[in-house]
């Protein structure tokens, strides 16, 4: 399995005349963009120092928002179809209007409101209205939406979701012979790949018929993003496997149950949104989140939980307090890592991880 490099892949797509839209985190109807022949390139943690963005944002703003703005201010040539800001948190909400109304970039800026909290019929109806509004807005620049293309896009999305449900199960039950790095690389490749290319890539992953007997230490990771490459590689070295995830950039964007094949695109996209796992950014209750995590831990047989917390991320930090309390009271060992999305793994973090893993291994031995 060779996962294409994000930057090279997108450059090649741009050279081929592909329309590319920069998409900020996290939840948006990717199928709608595909139907307009727009390739979403998600902007979570682009590499590089934060320089220009510091002139626009305070020091206490989360690095995902800052890195996102830094990327936009570089005015990358590959982004030809503008930027989409889904409504995820207060900072991203304001960043959208800051970029559009005050900084004033030349590319179009779109927003997409994800309803929060109580998911009743009114919320469902509203979500469909918002979907239609985005469709109408895109039609103004990209021409009418072809219903067949939208149906095909939904089919592709459905296949990807279904395949991921299988892969997650296989990963949990030790039937997937890949490393942590490969697993999350594969998961995150959807942030920039064409759906058809991505499905081909997924097909290259072989699920073993039988459980591969492994003696790895098993962890669940929770947070916004998976640990960086250095940390994942270090975990691989330590024979630690992240067997399940509760990540916004990961499985919180895959429906909790296998959905029926799409019949009506708008109904399908709506169903999909409401079938996503509980998430801080959608304001699910803490009880729901805690229950979901505990179920995931039980299903995956994880021995402990690694919280990978992005500095200054309010939605996560609020939920984190209760989740820690709840998991601790259930006797689950936890490790909290804080990230500012800078590459590199410090000696101190390595030591903390090692100590945590030793503690988990000791528990198993005992």
């Amino acid at each position: 399995m060779i996962i294409p490099n994000r930057s090279e892949y997108l450059k090649q797509q741009a050279r081929n005349g592909q329309k590319i839209m920069g998409v900020l985190p996290a939840l948006y109807p990717r199928e709608l963009l595909w139907a307009f022949d727009i390739l979403p390139a998600e902007i979570w943690d682009p590499p590089g120092d934060i320089l220009q963005a510091n002139a626009h944002l305070q020091t206490t703003i989360c690095p995902v928002v800052k890195q996102g703005l830094e990327f936009i201010l570089k005015d990358p040539e590959i982004v030809t179809a503008g930027y989409l800001f889904p409504h995820t948190c207060d900072s991203l909400q304001n960043l959208a209007t800051q970029v559009k109304d005050l900084i004033g970039i030349s590319a179009p800026v779109y927003t997409f409101y994800n309803p929060k909290g109580a998911f009743r019929q009114a919320t469902r109806n509203y979500y469909q209205d918002v979907l239609r509004e985005l469709q109408t807005t895109l039609e103004q620049l990209h021409g009418p939406c072809d219903p067949e293309k939208l149906q095909t896009a939904c089919q592709l999305g459905f296949k990807i979701d279904t395949r991921w449900n299988e892969l997650q199960k296989a990963w949990m039950s030790d039937q997937l012979p890949v490393t942590n790095q490969e697993y999350f690389g594969l998961m995150r490749a959807l942030e920039y790949m064409q759906p058809a290319d991505y499905l081909e890539l997924l097909d290259q992953v072989t699920v073993q018929d039988q459980t591969v007997i492994r003696n790895d230490t098993r962890l669940l990771v929770s947070g916004i993003l998976p640990p960086d490459i250095e940390t994942l590689s270090f975990l691989d070295e330590l024979k630690v496997r992240i067997v399940a995830d509760d990540l916004l950039a990961g499985s919180r964007r895959i429906p909790i149950v296998c959905m029926d094949p799409p019949y009506d695109p708008m109904e399908h996209l709506t169903d999909r949104f409401f079938m996503l796992p509980p998430c801080s950014t959608r304001a699910n209750s803490l009880a729901e989140r805690s229950h979901y995590l505990k179920t995931l831990i039980a299903k995956s047989d994880a021995q402990g939980v690694l919280f990978n917390i992005v500095k200054f991320c309010e939605p996560e930090l609020f939920d984190h307090q209760f989740l820690v309390k709840s998991l601790k009271s259930a006797g689950l060992p936890l490790l909290n890592l804080e990230t500012e999305l800078q590459p590199g793994l410090s000696g101190q973090t390595k030591t903390r991880i090692e100590a945590f893993i030793e503690m988990l291994d000791d528990q198993v031995t005992a």
């Binding site: 207060d90 409101y113 929060k116 009114a122 919320t123 509203y126 509004e133 209750s285 609020f318 307090q321």
Partner: protein, 440 residues
């Protein structure tokens, strides 16, 4: 609801509280040294203190007599008033604690329970209060219901979720879609539907049936209070301004916490009468008003006195603020003939739920209408919707209007992040720039 609790509440409301307030008047108070830069204080201050003390005092007798709801400052409280909930505003309570310079103590309690220091200090203070039971207000009743709206921030939703979990009580959330360009018909429809969907839940929690007539009366009263508050603020267009924005930060409390109740309306009638009288007589809030300023963002509660004195002594008066204006700006949309949609328009378009183009336009209008010479922006760590975008707002206003401006990096209620020396230096540099600009 128990009969004895109701009788006790009624007794305290009609006899106990007024008696206590009279006794408070008799209690000798230490006179605070006030700078000569200030004009005579507002007479309404006394009435304001009475109202707020009475509100917090009566709160302790509410359990058993009334259902208690904790509410966010931007939530459509009129609906709750119809069901006769006793409402407590944790933001207001946190600001009170911040003003008493006790914010850090309460924050520390929440932090020791695992809440991050990077979270909003209003939330940390409130959670600190919840976990410890401590309050300078004597005793605050625990809620039967939580009612919040994300029209001021998403933070309140996360914060109220934490309370709901801790106390195992229902949380009603009014989802107000952010106005990225302009409010759409489906935004209004969605919010109007949510409000109507709340009625059966509120009926169940309160044990009362929804009374449309009563709701209309409350809506009208709420609108009148907000509009009267708006007229009070407009009086500050006069030169000299009859009060400072630091006064307004305090006088804002009834329109936030008691909106929809007769006491708020009565209070603003009194306040309006007084400020209009001061305008007629040319009584200024500061004795020599040479420069007029605009304040952006929530107050630095633990430094209100310091900031008020610092500027007054330099003959500078804050005559307007985006913050105080927030409870008057959209009131005009309320319409008792179309309560649900009009509430959606009123509550959905407030400054913090609206785009920055709107905010820039509003600030320009305020700067023009209030003859503003300079701007102070409080960049607060606690409030992302207020603070993200301020750097570019400042740039736009400074460039387009040639307006001297300064940004203070501080916090609303956690005094630990205040750096006196650094801020004083910045403020002095700002004052020099302002004075130099006016000489040109």
């Amino acid at each position: 609801m128990s009969i004895s609790a109701r009788l006790k509440y009624s007794f305290m409301k009609d006899i106990g509280a007024p008696a206590l307030m009279s006794l408070k008047d008799l209690k000798p108070r230490r006179a605070r040294a006030v700078s000569k830069a200030f004009g005579p204080p507002l007479q309404s201050n006394k009435r304001l203190k009475e109202i707020l003390s009475r509100h917090y005092f009566l709160a302790r007798y509410a359990p058993g007599a009334k259902q208690v709801a904790w509410v966010t400052s931007g939530a459509p409280v009129e609906l709750l008033r119809t069901f006769d909930f006793y409402t407590i505003y944790p933001e207001n309570h946190s600001a009170l604690i911040g003003a008493k310079k006790q914010g850090a103590d309460y924050c520390a309690i929440a932090e020791s329970a695992g809440f991050s220091q990077d979270l909003c200090s209003y939330a940390r203070i409130d959670l600190g209060h919840l976990l410890s039971g401590k309050t300078p207000a004597g005793k605050l009743p625990k809620p039967d219901l939580l009612f919040c709206s994300n029209n001021i921030c998403q933070t309140v939703l996360y914060w109220y979720k934490a309370i709901a979990q801790e106390l195992n009580i229902p949380l009603i959330h009014f989802d107000a879609p952010f106005v990225a360009i302009e409010q759409s018909q489906h935004d209004v429809r969605y919010m109007a539907q949510q409000l109507q969907d709340m009625i059966p839940i509120l009926e169940q929690v309160s044990g009362k049936v929804f009374d449309l007539k009563q709701f209309e009366i409350i809506l009208k009263r709420s609108q009148n209070s907000s509009m009267t508050w708006g007229r009070v603020l407009e009086c500050m267009q006069s030169k000299p301004a009859p009060m400072t924005i630091f006064d307004a930060f305090g006088h804002l409390a009834p329109v936030v916490s008691l909106r929809g109740l007769p006491v708020a309306q009565d209070y603003y009638n009194i306040l309006l009468e007084e400020v209009e009288d001061r305008v007629t007589k040319g009584i200024g809030a500061i004795t020599n008003e040479r420069y007029r300023l605009i304040w952006d963002n929530i107050a630095v509660w633990y430094k209100v006195r310091f900031l008020a004195t610092f500027f007054a002594e330099r003959n500078m008066n804050f005559v307007t603020a985006t913050y105080t204006n927030a409870w008057a700006e959209t009131t005009g949309f309320l319409d008792v003939k179309d309560p649900w949609s009009s509430m959606a328009k009123t509550y959905g378009q407030i400054i913090l739920n609206n785009n920055l183009k709107h905010r820039l336009g509003l600030m320009k209008k305020m700067i023009r209408n209030f003859s503003v010479d300079g701007m102070v922006m409080h960049s607060t760590r606690s409030c992302k919707p207020y603070s993200v975008g301020q750097f570019d707002l400042r740039k736009a206003l400074s460039t387009e209007l040639n307006l001297p401006a300064v940004i203070l990096d501080a916090d609303i209620a956690d005094e630990r992040v205040w750096s006196e020396q650094q801020i004083q230096t910045r403020l002095e540099a700002f004052c020099e720039t302002l004075e130099d600009t006016s000489l040109v």
